[in-house]
Symmetry: C2
């Protein structure tokens, strides 16, 4: 069944036009681009497939389902996280706070990752490395094993929820500082206008309740509370 010998070599195949084969990596690349540029809701199997110039069904040869794709995206983002690998017992609290700030920074740089991370145990290699580093800091702080273990659950929970809230409020579009200020002013007015007999504290604290929305003060408050709370659990305290 060999071909006839005078069959001409096919001339100048349009090599560049041949489709690169799909791979897990190309799929995650495309999904990540969508995630960063258009937010979590833009990452659908269909849109990812479209970016790769194919149909949604083709993705399922490389990725089990949407949830697995979400996990891959979270792990891809974890790659960018730069956590200290030399814990210092003398300044573990500052290191822990820096680690939380770094987590938030990465989640902000990749809007949508927070939503993808919510409610999944991060088992990717990069994510596990972050956990390992965090455990190092906590053990440097003399936390008991069990406290350190639960803390590496609590900390990402807090940071992820913070980042998720931010992106939900923004949606895909990004609010300008003026938009936020406008909303804050509205909210403050709303609190102040509540019946003072039933909501005395809400009315009195209207200013405080709406403060720090456009800065990191709220987040800083959170990491201060958590760090102080953890420190109170350290051995020999």
């Amino acid at each position: 069944m060999s071909q006839s010998p005078w069959q001409p070599i096919s001339p100048e195949k349009p090599v560049r036009a041949i489709r690169e084969p799909l791979t897990r990596e190309r799929i995650v690349d495309a999904a990540m681009r969508l995630l960063v540029e258009q937010g979590y809701d833009a990452v659908s199997m269909r849109k990812v497939a479209q970016v790769l110039d194919t149909g949604p069904a083709s993705l399922y040869a490389h990725v089990a389902n949407k949830k697995e794709l979400d996990q891959l995206l979270v792990d891809r983002a974890a790659q960018d996280m730069n956590l200290p690998d030399t814990p210092d017992p003398d300044r573990w609290q500052e290191q822990l706070k820096d680690a939380m700030r770094e987590m938030l920074r990465v989640m902000r740089a990749n809007p949508g990752v927070a939503r993808a991370a919510m409610g999944q145990v991060p088992l990717g290699e990069r994510a596990l490395l972050s956990t390992e580093r965090m455990l190092g800091i906590l053990k440097a702080g003399n936390l008991p094993d069990q406290a350190a273990a639960w803390a590496v659950d609590l900390i990402p929970l807090f940071v992820t929820a913070t980042a998720f809230e931010e992106t939900v409020k923004g949606g895909a579009a990004t609010w300008t500082k003026d938009d936020i200020d406008g909303f804050v002013a509205y909210l403050r007015g709303f609190f102040e206008s509540l019946p003072a007999d039933r909501f005395p504290l809400t009315v009195a604290l209207a200013g405080a309740l709406t403060a720090g929305a456009s800065s990191d003060e709220r987040f800083e408050f959170g990491i201060t509370v958590i760090t102080a709370g953890l420190a109170s659990l350290a051995d020999g305290n």
Copy 2:
């Protein structure tokens, strides 16, 4: 243009069969039933409409959109929350912990509410009352105004994220204790099998990392850390 007098009174109108008019309340009732029985993903405008024996478009006369319906659901759940209205300076920390336990209880009793609550400012009347009560406890603990205000942001963030994680892991179906134990055993084995040179702490703490999944120990840890952290910010501390 009056009707002719001998027009007979329409005999025995099938009164019971006349459709009750749609109202906000009926819509929320139906949505709440779906939410509790089938989880957050079952609450679609279409399914709610179907339960009410109409089409999805009919709902939009009473509810602005899906997001507003979510807010209404959260407020309906807040109704069930029983928070102390007489703050006691001597045991404010215990009251605060009880309040968090109560919040989690209600969210567990209404699976899906946590997902609906994520990332929205709770502005319903019932939800605002919970905030007011929480502020009362925190002020009884001598927290500065700003700390109390940010704390009533941090606390629901933590409780909601905890409840959300639980329901995500379960999905609509509920895991049995055996299912959880099986998953925990798998996870523990996974951590123990990691390369000990790169993940020494993760391997060593595999047991601690997977402990307390089927009980409230993790949540109790979280409320202990947050309460202790807040206490450290109290005036005259």
